[in-house]
Chain length 444, copies 4
Amino acid sequence: MTDELILTEIDSLGSAKIVSPVRKGENGFTNYDFVSDDERVLIEVEWVKLAERMKNESPIPSFEMAGPRDKIYFDPSKLKCALVTCGGLCPGLNDIIRAIVLELHYGYGVRHVFGIRYGLQGFIPQYGHHMVELNPEAVTNILEMGGSILGSSRGPQPVEDVVDSLERMNIGILFMIGGDGTIMGASKIAETITERKLNIAVVCIPKTIDNDIHLVSRSFGFDTAVDVATQAIKAAHNEAESYPNGIGLIKLMGRYSGFIAATAALAEQNVNFVLIPEIDFDLEGDRGLLKTLQKRLELRTHAVILVAEGAGQKYFINKKVEKDESGNVRLKDIGPLLKEEITSYFSNKGMEVTVKYIDPSYMIRSLPANANDGVFCSFLGRNAVHAGMAGKTKVLISHWNDHFVHIPLAATAGKRKHVDPCGALWRSVLEATGQGPLKNHSEE
Amino acid sequence: MTDELILTEIDSLGSAKIVSPVRKGENGFTNYDFVSDDERVLIEVEWVKLAERMKNESPIPSFEMAGPRDKIYFDPSKLKCALVTCGGLCPGLNDIIRAIVLELHYGYGVRHVFGIRYGLQGFIPQYGHHMVELNPEAVTNILEMGGSILGSSRGPQPVEDVVDSLERMNIGILFMIGGDGTIMGASKIAETITERKLNIAVVCIPKTIDNDIHLVSRSFGFDTAVDVATQAIKAAHNEAESYPNGIGLIKLMGRYSGFIAATAALAEQNVNFVLIPEIDFDLEGDRGLLKTLQKRLELRTHAVILVAEGAGQKYFINKKVEKDESGNVRLKDIGPLLKEEITSYFSNKGMEVTVKYIDPSYMIRSLPANANDGVFCSFLGRNAVHAGMAGKTKVLISHWNDHFVHIPLAATAGKRKHVDPCGALWRSVLEATGQGPLKNHSEE
Amino acid sequence: MTDELILTEIDSLGSAKIVSPVRKGENGFTNYDFVSDDERVLIEVEWVKLAERMKNESPIPSFEMAGPRDKIYFDPSKLKCALVTCGGLCPGLNDIIRAIVLELHYGYGVRHVFGIRYGLQGFIPQYGHHMVELNPEAVTNILEMGGSILGSSRGPQPVEDVVDSLERMNIGILFMIGGDGTIMGASKIAETITERKLNIAVVCIPKTIDNDIHLVSRSFGFDTAVDVATQAIKAAHNEAESYPNGIGLIKLMGRYSGFIAATAALAEQNVNFVLIPEIDFDLEGDRGLLKTLQKRLELRTHAVILVAEGAGQKYFINKKVEKDESGNVRLKDIGPLLKEEITSYFSNKGMEVTVKYIDPSYMIRSLPANANDGVFCSFLGRNAVHAGMAGKTKVLISHWNDHFVHIPLAATAGKRKHVDPCGALWRSVLEATGQGPLKNHSEE
Amino acid sequence: MTDELILTEIDSLGSAKIVSPVRKGENGFTNYDFVSDDERVLIEVEWVKLAERMKNESPIPSFEMAGPRDKIYFDPSKLKCALVTCGGLCPGLNDIIRAIVLELHYGYGVRHVFGIRYGLQGFIPQYGHHMVELNPEAVTNILEMGGSILGSSRGPQPVEDVVDSLERMNIGILFMIGGDGTIMGASKIAETITERKLNIAVVCIPKTIDNDIHLVSRSFGFDTAVDVATQAIKAAHNEAESYPNGIGLIKLMGRYSGFIAATAALAEQNVNFVLIPEIDFDLEGDRGLLKTLQKRLELRTHAVILVAEGAGQKYFINKKVEKDESGNVRLKDIGPLLKEEITSYFSNKGMEVTVKYIDPSYMIRSLPANANDGVFCSFLGRNAVHAGMAGKTKVLISHWNDHFVHIPLAATAGKRKHVDPCGALWRSVLEATGQGPLKNHSEE
């Protein structure tokens, strides 16, 4: 992070001149603390590293603090907003929808909020999805529901068509909730808006159950995912322990990062191996997974393995080549691959094992948020509204060093966080599992 | 049930002459109601059918009531008992283990109870599994654990070896908890015991998460299974509703019967199709599943399908022939088959759908029992002890017409309950789902 | 039960002549099994007792089987129905409302179903509560909600006014869900209907979280209540175990019966004392609760006590006299009384104890039903509709000997089930707790 | 925080010279990143405020980063550690115990870890509590248990006796888990250790379910508490909504701060009033709670009120005076007071209301930690071990600006965090509830 250029300034549609209605209202605030654009949160809070940067950089990299401004850009009585959820499901989508609608309605008096159905598809006329009018009544009981009341869809839609649609609807703020692809899409939409000289703010809330968005210390839904993943681990442990040489194998989400698997392993007490995309491992060989698993079974007669869906990708390159003729594309999934490899390894050894494979992914993604994520989503949604009302655009709401901040879309789009192989999280996993390096040759 | 011969008399090792220690003890019972062998529960409680039988049969078929007897066969101070759990995991195993141990210890003063490890394997010396001494201390905190603290294994072991082992250990009562295979195994063990003229009682508690044992109106773990299955249904519904033409497909347990799928469909509000082994259905054709699913999607844009693992077996016979050369045995699993058929059907129609497939089986089997099953298991375990102490053998503890009863192993082994296509359960499922017959040609 | 007159014949409004629309419909039933009024479930299923009755009584007492009839009394196209929930909350109310509405709508084609707001108040114009039109749309998502979507209220309303209201609305079937008081109220309403020669069927579903309605083996919500009560027990146990001489004291529901407390004690592993209305106990004295509790603490340093709200009423008679001047009516609550008595007993002994008191009642009553109760409610609701459509009146839907049956209101109103001090439930509690008689003088 | 002196330097027993065994071990770390004492986390991360401080203060206030050091002070092969949990229960105690034991054992090879029973009582011989030897086996299955496996007790014990005991046991590191009182006690113990020139490190982990410890951004158990509190809110809402003018009143923990109540209100969707110690409110008067509640009921017919146990203390001062003669000390509890005030207010108005009061405190405190708290506790425990092994003393493990840090006991003892009346949390509560100021006269 320290050795790259970070653009931290937030674009805006123009100067915010309207007095914010949240100042003094029915809520009875008399000493309302607005947030000023000058309030900024340091990106680097470790003093030695910061001092180093202070010698060379000016200004010191920092993010604008999120929160309500005393002046706003849009006239609430005329403003129309649109809200869209994109990509895979993630616990908390409805909490964010609800927070945005309530803050717009009660906090600012905005009366026209439109929910776009099924992701970006909802902007494209030929799909025929109707918009939903969102008001407090419509969102009052949605927290217990999982999924998104607006629906979602994957993949991009033509940017020009989306902006046409925004123009036709006379939208002032577009709230987009989605993952990396959505953030990149939002950037393009915002560029086109700029090119057309439209007054439309684009405000994003980053969504990734994997918790791997760059410059976002925590993303919503992750905590719920870990919570529920522990139930799968318990099940796998019970199955493993109940049979001689029982092996519980659980595939968890984590396409490019292993945060869910690593964190869930710390939340539960019975995980023996964690395999994640960031850490290479060998299957074969003296220190490989299979041999190490065999030793574990010989010692303790049961084992639990967590594998992130993106782990061990190197095995598919080999596999593909090997099995090309049979056209077997099914093996791209690490879970079944591991199950097969384990089964055939022990079968060759003449050692009877029982492998129980659990893939709880869809039982996790579609859940309602737990309380912690619910509160977090409520702040994300409210801060997105504050940002949009102040005329901020091309902005993403992040949580950084324990504060809610504004991040320019350009600073994070296309980049990812990873589990640091030398950091405290992975170190704790290694200590908790005792799994060792699982590599035949050390990296050095 | 009414048109077959039911043997309802329970074998015993000999006359029970010892005064039961539960009569008056520290518990302060002063008006203890023992159960007499004369107390019997009618098998048929519908009066017209019963009256019909009374004309022709004598005696009227009835089961011996379970419960403590005032005279017992075994001398508690000398008795040794063995306890074994066999087959797949099922919520409640530990509850039963605990109830048996506590009743033997506190109710009768038996001091030697041995837990056999890993199912029948634990009787066979070459596996090298050590027995576990079971006392109140050992079982005090096991209710929260899923699985079986004794472990389990599948498949039979040589009957003679098992009986050798029982003889060697000088066991008086063998408690066996297992499914249909175990009950048949128990019969053979009991026969061999009889042949060898040993004084060993064999008492079974029927285990089947599918709830399909003949003459057993409810089996433990089923309620917990339905409970948890509803969580998978919620997830599937959320996924389905969140995408255009979203389809949630859940495979539930039910090899020969559809009780779990049918009951779970009634417990939740959003199931549109239930496929079970007892009810034939067509995939293709105007009234087949695929076409009916298409209509549902056109009308409501999402659908949830529950399929019991044993449903639609006819499709594997065809498939096998078709794909024999490629040796693809994977398709024996109805879940993935349905997923493929649905995907390819809509792909051919050019209709974009999203199918999310959930298989929660191992997350269900290994759970601890819910409160309801816990209480039920506690009664099963205690009644098994009462039966064994009274010298009953070749007996199974069942729940019938709201009473705990004794059933001879011979009466139930090898037979199954099924969902009645004309009964109230399936009728309610049809009403709740509105799925229709899913058959191109009616049965008539 | 055996020594009292049981009226088991069900009243009806007249002969059912209309062919039931459930016979063959979109559901594709081809072999629909209707239930005939001749199908009856024996009340007594223990053979010896039954044989005894058969000598003396004719006919043998039995209940009419519930379920759909092939002829119905009401013309669905003209029928209007009303539905009301009365008294305290209980898990499952919404499940029943939903089942009744769906069965009327889809099963019979009834298009006018009215929900009465806030119990019987909703019939009385001066309260100004508006009725709610109930259709599938209105009930589609109510299972996750606790409470009753119709609301409730306690206490009676003038019978004549209620019947006026029914007449004004032109109601054909009135569905009432409520406890003992409601059943008695329903009887009076039905009598007035008869007197006025109106064609209004009154069908009740018995509600009591305490599970103590006469001739009803299981009432809805009870299972959920036990389920949640176990969480309070776990909490109390954890508190008790974490302090020297820690005592966890939990008050559970059970005004006249101890089914919840007794059953919850069996579902959990850590209860040491269960106090219920049916079993007298002494506080003072050598074998009284306080001394026995002291012994338990000396032996094990912690204890958990479950008390049903109606237990130990004899102590209030004394207390009232003692404290009458101070007008202190607060002590009618056994929970705080026990807490005080325990605290002061050990304080007098100079023995330091920590008492943690938990009253989870309102956290239980207002919950949604668990899966088991949900399915049960679904059958209750559907059978209530079948009964009403067939013109049955003054009838209550019960579950008896594992079958859903019709019971005349007169047979059960004003009577209660109790925990049998000599039965298997209480015996198991005594065995599980080892609490002993808690009486200084035995009953003999 | 900015206008007070913060001592941020951590004491140590002496120079750490032994090479840490975690460097390269069975875990296979080859690039292990140790934390250096020079790595420090800024206390203030808002740039403007920081820049201000940088002008005046030197050095800039910062906390030492927690984590493993490459040199340690104690020789693991000789070290003995003691571990004690003090004060009220809080979810996560067992998770911390487990993490400390596992890190000492596997991370450093320490073989002697003693658990002190029942808080500080366990150090005092006359209580007769025996120590517990803690090793991996002893802590392997404790995460599912609530409470503390060591037990706890409230109140101080003589400092000299505690240190005598530590000396007698030859303890090198004392781990203390407890609240504000415990931290102050730890300071005194550490002072006495210094006076006696003993080589005993004292390392604290702050425990407060209220989350109100100064300089600790998050304390363990808080997240679980909020999670469970939402269940009580749901119950209260269901009760409130089900009766005409239904009022659900929930008392939550929060003696001096309202973090739990405020956060839980954001996690749930149905709270109308939140009362916390930090924000004064009036009961009577035109803008007081009672009148505002009346308006809410007239508008919406039901209401939910959350009250932190420490809210509204001013009413007890008055009450005490008024009711002194009757000696009624019971009213110190705000929950029952509010219930009475509300009931009598509406009774005087002749307006029928139903108040349901829920106090879930003991059902929350004694729960096991949820996954999020579990992971957090695991890091707290491991970092406490790293601190102690490095010879740090008089130190507390905190989480600050998203990093685990060391804080001197002196910096935090006796001080509290409060909900900021002008901050984002309370602002969100006001927006979510719409409750208004609840004061007759504004503060200005």
